[in-house]
Symmetry: D2
Subunit: 397 residues, 4 copies
């Protein structure tokens, strides 16, 4: 059941650095858990905070050697590139606006990049980053981590195998409630940068979690979005970015079938929702339903038959799920395991690229800089459509 990517292969762990993720951060710790779980990475360097003192203190806490606790990412990129035992990859876990300059520095230093989502804070940065990645020949992995869940891999492969027939309807939603009140004004660090256009970009809720939802829907269905109509709101008085997003989606028709349609709802102001990412896909032959808070279960209904419960590691699970499954059915894997699957795919890719003319094996599945650019185009289209009163809007080129 354990896949190649999860094999505890230790031709020595990959040396990893991190930018951002110091004391008080949330997603930095998640990346570290994910990097450690399968044993493919070892964190050896960091520029963990833009505040040099905090950077050093955070590094010490993580057991980094003092000489590899850097005060700035530029210094880190230079120094690590020069070391014979320098890092091979860096995790970028800063606010969005720093993704571009940080990734640029490391790519130019010949270091692979694993970067949090969304790709950047502006579409322009995103386009430049695509060019940079392509020129660099380095790996760029975007942590749309929900694509790492085994049951999501299964769902995608079922769509691919035609088990749902032609897709007609895609319903995706991602409600939360943690921003129902203006906690960004009360010093909550996570809230502060996410609601700040300077650091977050033009999208608030739609950028932070709406992109996750859209990425997941398109990952599973492999449909291309033709146009969308968005209605973004800012319910909390004084907030600068949207905190609720309603989006209607039209996908491109494929193979003569009518175009599939979709709805996307993202919200950070809906009490009773913690992290309610949920995807439902309906086709001519069947439907599937999956919820992130109960990630080990995939519901599949072949049209006209009883609904079936497919479980991670259990009966009905297919090869695509098994590749990223660690333990048997009934022993729940969670968010960190799904996140770790992205890291372990990245590790397999990095190892493959070590060889002369090494290529990333086709079976590895992880979000790339192109997915990141698509996400930025999605955000831009949503913001533009909403400003144009919900006008049906194509994703910008």
């Amino acid at each position: 059941m354990v896949s190649a990517s999860n094999t505890e292969n230790h031709a020595g762990p990959i040396r990893l650095g991190m930018v951002g993720g110091g004391q008080g951060a949330f997603i930095g710790a998640v990346h570290r858990y994910a990097a450690r779980l399968d044993g493919h990475f070892q964190l050896v360097a960091g520029a963990l905070s833009s505040d040099p003192d905090r950077a050093r203190a955070s590094g010490a806490e993580l057991g980094l050697s003092p000489d590899r606790c850097y005060g700035s990412f530029e210094e880190m990129a230079r120094a690590e590139a020069d070391r014979p035992d320098g890092i091979e990859a860096v995790s970028v876990v800063t606010p969005n606006n720093m993704h571009y300059p940080v990734a640029k520095a490391f790519l130019e230093a010949g270091i692979h990049v694993i970067c949090d989502k969304p790709l950047t804070s502006t579409l322009d940065d995103a386009r430049k980053l695509v060019d940079l990645v392509e020129k660099s020949g380095k790996l760029f992995v975007l942590t749309h981590n929900y694509t790492g869940y085994p049951m999501i891999r299964q769902a995608r492969s079922m769509v691919e195998a035609g088990e749902l027939g032609n897709i007609r309807v895609v319903q995706v939603e991602y409600p939360q409630d943690w921003l129902a009140e203006p906690i960004e004004r009360e010093g909550q660090k996570q809230a502060a940068w996410r609601t700040d256009p300077e650091r977050s970009g033009a999208g608030g809720c739609i950028g932070d979690i709406g992109t996750h939802a859209w990425n997941l829907a398109t990952f599973v269905t492999m449909l291309k979005t033709d146009r969308l109509s968005a209605d973004l709101d800012t319910f909390v008085p004084g907030r600068l970015l949207d905190d609720n997003a309603h989006v209607m989606l039209r996908f491109r028709p494929e193979g003569g079938a009518p175009a599939a349609k979709g709805m996307l709802w993202a919200s950070q102001v809906s009490p009773g929702n913690e992290n309610g990412l949920k995807l439902r896909v309906y086709g001519t032959k069947g439907g599937i339903e999956w919820a992130q808070e109960d990630p080990n279960r995939l519901w599949f209904t072949p049209l006209g038959q009883p609904k079936r419960l497919i479980t991670r590691g259990g009966t009905g699970a297919n090869e695509a799920a098994a590749r990223v499954t660690r333990i048997p059915g009934g022993h729940p894997e969670g968010y960190l395991e799904g996140f770790a699957n992205i890291y372990s795919e990245a590790a397999a890719a990095i190892r493959a690229m070590r060889a002369e003319n090494g290529k990333v094996p086709g079976e590895l599945l992880f979000p790339t800089v192109h997915d990141g650019l698509d996400g930025m185009r999605f955000i831009e289209a949503c913001v533009n459509s909403s400003k144009a009163n919900g006008k049906w809007t194509e994703l910008p080129a």
Copy 2:
């Protein structure tokens, strides 16, 4: 716990007639169960089919006296109006296009009308029917039956009491799968008329179940719809009406709060969904969630507190729910009980109207001809918006 409306009050049951609902029909039987459950009505006459032979056979099966099995509704209205023991109320359970002429005939004969939804097949008929009802002084009850569920009554009263604060987001959906294939061409009677514009009207799925969803959302939230943007689809080739509807809603701002927003999804082509009406309402102070297939439970989350399970007849249930509750918590009531609550409210209204200058008591809660007109305006706006490529459209006057 048993409410006034459900009291098994038998100052003699109310004499009831039925138009439509003969052999092979679905909703006619539902109306009869609903009428019988609390003992307030006795079915004594019918024009149960437009086919006179079937009408008579159906009547015999139901134990109707042969002289009260009519071959046409016109005849029935006349004859019953003339009998000293004639019916006091009639249930109209025909396809939509017949609601108007049938209701007209009975109202003009001085007989109360209980009518299935949507109100009519055209907006014009709906407007005329409103006038007719007002002139007649008779009761007109529209069976938007989902408003009869105790936990829906509770939800509405919680909104009314401000327990959710200002409403921000309303998510309502109503997916089914029974029309995923063109069964209307295989002689399925229910499918045939529902997909026929002549009998159903301009809305297919949006008229049949979308109106239920919208009615439920507005019943609970008491919000007025300002504009909507709709994307209706017909996925099954050759079908004449929509079978999937995506709608974004903007409600009218109230009390200085920003306008609430909503999404409505109705589908009859989504495999794995039987009758998946579900409502979620989120406000500044809390959120509620309810699903028709699990109707005895209402989930309530006061912002910042654990989610709570309120059960019909159980702890947390309020007076509004108790009024329409028959049995204790844990003993599930279902669809027929909710439907019967509408009938029992109607019975209480009819009894009150028997008195000289009798008025319908304020605590009775049932959908009226005005709600029906609103539903027709909603359908019209959806169809028009969709034709105009999702243009934000006001409900017609």
Copy 3:
């Protein structure tokens, strides 16, 4: 989908009387809803309370003719037997200790009996009642109402068809919480008689709901209980009967397979449980799970395959379920509908018995006086085993 037993056949409703069930009672109203729902019965007479004034007032409320509101059941039995339009059947909804004398009076008057469970308050009464029923040639239906749920019928027929293979394990439970405190001392009428050995018999919780659980388990599995080991407790200080029951069950081996084993838990002192009857049955080929509070769903796992959701009226539902199903899947039927199925089976039986030498058709399925006797034997065995410190005890002959 609508079964013979539910057909709204009105060769005239059956004339029904009721003993018990006056103001303040719970189960009497349930019986009346059940009798009315399918239209097979009309309540025309009653001795609704042992207090003559309350009996008359209760009868008036139910629309009974004053001359058929009796002050005692003996008088009612005599008078109704003498009337040409006298009742054909009587519902007995008194405390347990009155079941025997009331049933006796009506059986001897030639009137069919529909009686609440458990059968009597003593095993001796139960044995005498079996004799009486057999001598009388009259119908005796015991309202172990949970056997009326469509998904329970389905479960039984699946066991019968061998879809589970040889049964190995039976887990049944019935937790409630309404007696967690000594409300019988605060005038709660339902609690008062149920905790009174005089009126209830030797079993408290085990008699009130434990018998339901055991009846359900044996109805579905058709297994015979060989021996049981019981540990009954009275947790609420001062209470006279058990309020929690733990029972291990050994069934008789069948067809060479090892004997199946079971566990039964009944409790009235477990906070958070309303009416949590739940049955799970596991065999060599598959397992099923069903919960009374979610009665429209039956979970079936064929060994080695994904769990499947079978829904009442939906995909996977079989003939045995369809016989007692009124409305389509997704439109939940509940407790009253399941209860009404017992009444409608009774109606079909009574109609069949009207004919000369009329016999009860084999397809009708309802608990009889023999099931009631078995239930009393079960209670006796539990009480005796518990007194003997959990000694494995056979059901008394």
Copy 4:
């Protein structure tokens, strides 16, 4: 939210060895994931298989230095004790019968032991091991991993704080289905040793998972078991150990309250159950419910109030849960995270013990050799009671 025990404190990871857990094993990999997740341990040595070739190959796969891949645990204990950089702790993940000799060798070599459950294969070994641990002054941690789940920690602390009042009823169950057929005869390695009395001990299902269930119930309730009555079965023909266990429990009365009662069901032959450990505890003031397959949720019902959903990392979670929580609510943690909590508590204990006269801090919570001895006493009592036809049996001294 991140607890002391999970802090990614790296005063250098603890050097860890492993005995057992080579290719084809299940639980060995789980221990390695658990050891790695929080970064407190580094695996540096192993005797991964009793087959020396497999031991070496397995070690190479895990990146162990060849000179630290041992062919026998005795050799490993000696060699590692002699190295200045020798392991500080060893994970014992062999079949049960090897726990004792392996643990003995390492304890005597001055090395801490983390050992899988049950403690040993015989009660005699268990008693000897207790003595050995006490003499050694070394840490002995037993991986009853389910006690590491945050919501279980919360449940225990709620019981401790009296939020449930006096406990009356404890229902615990642990059904699986993977041994429903005799796969031990088809070369399934996990099944082979678990159904072999030589390697497993006197208990099959009761020892493998029944002990988990009992340990969890007593961990949460802190009740002492007074006596039990067990009915063990072997349903699969030819199997040598029990594969289904029914147990009734009587706890010792505390503080004048009546003794609590319990039921325990463990099964490996119940189709449709993957790893269905579930605990329900009911007291005078409230009830709680928790299921291992949905471990982030704890249901709490204060008597007479609506049921509440407490979520790991979410509203309602208390300090005891927060101590072992890594990520926010709605981001599910799973089995490996719970398991890792035991390892991280062990790490904190080991670090504390490094100091002169170092003591294990009181707030650390992990199962000890004494819990392991209790588990063996429980198995022995179950086996003896079952052999004595369910006689109420005390746990042996």
